[in-house]
């Protein structure tokens, strides 16, 4: 088995068995990368988290690209990234086909009538845990509240919000 293929299979496994996305995927990635395959050391792995916070996109993609690149260069980065998306692609398109076909059936309607309000509760709960992790001092509270007020009064694009809050961060935390 070539190293490239091994990288692909390892990230295919990570993409297939980690539920919940985001940081919920990190323990499985750590297990495979640091302990089983020993592609990265523990401290290099901690760098992944810091790098993921600086880089846009899903954490799973960030870590796949980073590990693949560190280990086998750009080819490795591609193999790992394709691997981590592979299962998602087939599962999601497969399930999407079924859902779209039976969208008007009573069963699918019933299921989604329960799930829709549930997802709002889910996102609300995510807000609470993100709030605890990101609102850590008076400055972050000021930024969060400012953004909230602006969002409720205007139709500003989220990208503009992200960029200007970053600038606010540079200004406030330099004081």
């Amino acid at each position: 088995m070539t190293e490239l293929f091994k990288l692909f299979i390892t990230f295919l496994k990570i993409g297939s068995f980690s539920f919940g996305g985001g940081y919920a995927m990190l323990p499985l990635i750590e297990e495979e990368i640091v302990y089983i395959n020993q592609w990265l050391t523990q401290s290099e792995f901690i760098d992944i988290i810091a790098i993921s916070q600086m880089s846009p996109g899903p954490i799973a993609i960030n870590s796949a690209t980073f590990v693949g690149f560190k280990y086998l260069g750009v080819g490795g980065a591609i193999a790992a990234t394709v691997g981590v998306c592979f299962t998602s692609f087939f599962l999601v398109t497969g399930l999407a086909r079924v859902i779209i076909k039976y969208y008007d059936s009573l069963i699918v309607k019933g299921i989604f009538s329960g799930i829709r309000p549930g997802v709002i509760g889910l996102i609300g709960a995510a807000c609470v845990s993100l709030f605890k992790a990101s609102i850590v001092d008076i400055k972050s509270l000021i930024i969060g509240l400012t953004v909230l007020v602006i969002l409720s009064k205007t139709k500003i694009h989220p990208i503009a919000v992200i960029l200007s809050s970053g600038v606010m961060g540079i200004l406030l935390y330099s004081i």
């Binding site: 690209t65 309607k109 309000p117 997802v119 889910l122 709960a125 993100l130 600038v167």
Partner: protein, 183 residues
């Protein structure tokens, strides 16, 4: 071809500005796909988030594939996914090369210290907007509060919570149907 490129470009922006993973992409997809392009409704978007959360893999990746597939089939899914993944891929390559040199630049760290609280506010406003897409029925309020408490207080796994909501929805629909018959 143009519609695929449009889709790619929309998701490229989503991928480029999703900081924090998971639900951080919700506000941007909502703005781009629901509000601006009008490709899907808020209700359908909720369904897609639920499916994305319930399947293995990254939520942003799953959401992207679903939206792309729903709009323009398999090719749509591929172009949308490329859009979401590419910014992350490119930025990581640069970071992997220069990480040791940039990790100590304070301005970068302060930038992200400012971005993090903004993401919370963005996601909160998205939840409020999505909430408006739902009928004001007692059943919906109960499920919403129940799902929130299940995760925030009782630490029940999100997938189990979603399954619970699905079962409640099924039972509720069946009950409604029997009531209709009785009338």
């Amino acid at each position: 071809m143009q519609k695929y490129l449009q889709l790619f470009w929309i998701f490229f922006r989503v991928g480029a500005f999703t900081f924090g993973g998971g639900y951080a992409m919700v506000p941007i997809i909502q703005k781009e796909i629901v509000d601006n392009a009008g490709f899907i409704e808020n209700e359908e978007f909720l369904d897609i988030i639920a499916v994305a959360q319930s399947l293995p893999g990254a939520i942003a990746v799953n959401t992207t594939i679903f939206v792309g597939y729903k709009l323009f089939g398999i090719l749509g899914a591929i172009f949308a996914l490329l859009g979401t993944v590419l910014p992350s891929f490119l930025v990581i390559l640069v970071l992997a090369l220069f990480y040791n040199r940039i990790k100590d630049i304070q301005a970068i760290q302060r930038f992200f210290q400012g971005v993090r609280p903004a993401i919370v506010a963005l996601i909160f406003m998205s939840a409020v907007k999505l909430g408006k897409a739902i009928d004001r029925k007692t059943f919906n309020y109960i499920i919403m509060a129940g799902a929130f408490m299940a995760i925030a207080i009782f630490k029940i796994h999100p997938i189990l919570t979603i399954i619970g909501c699905a079962i409640a929805g099924l039972v509720h629909v069946k009950g409604d149907k029997q009531n209709d018959r009785a009338v």
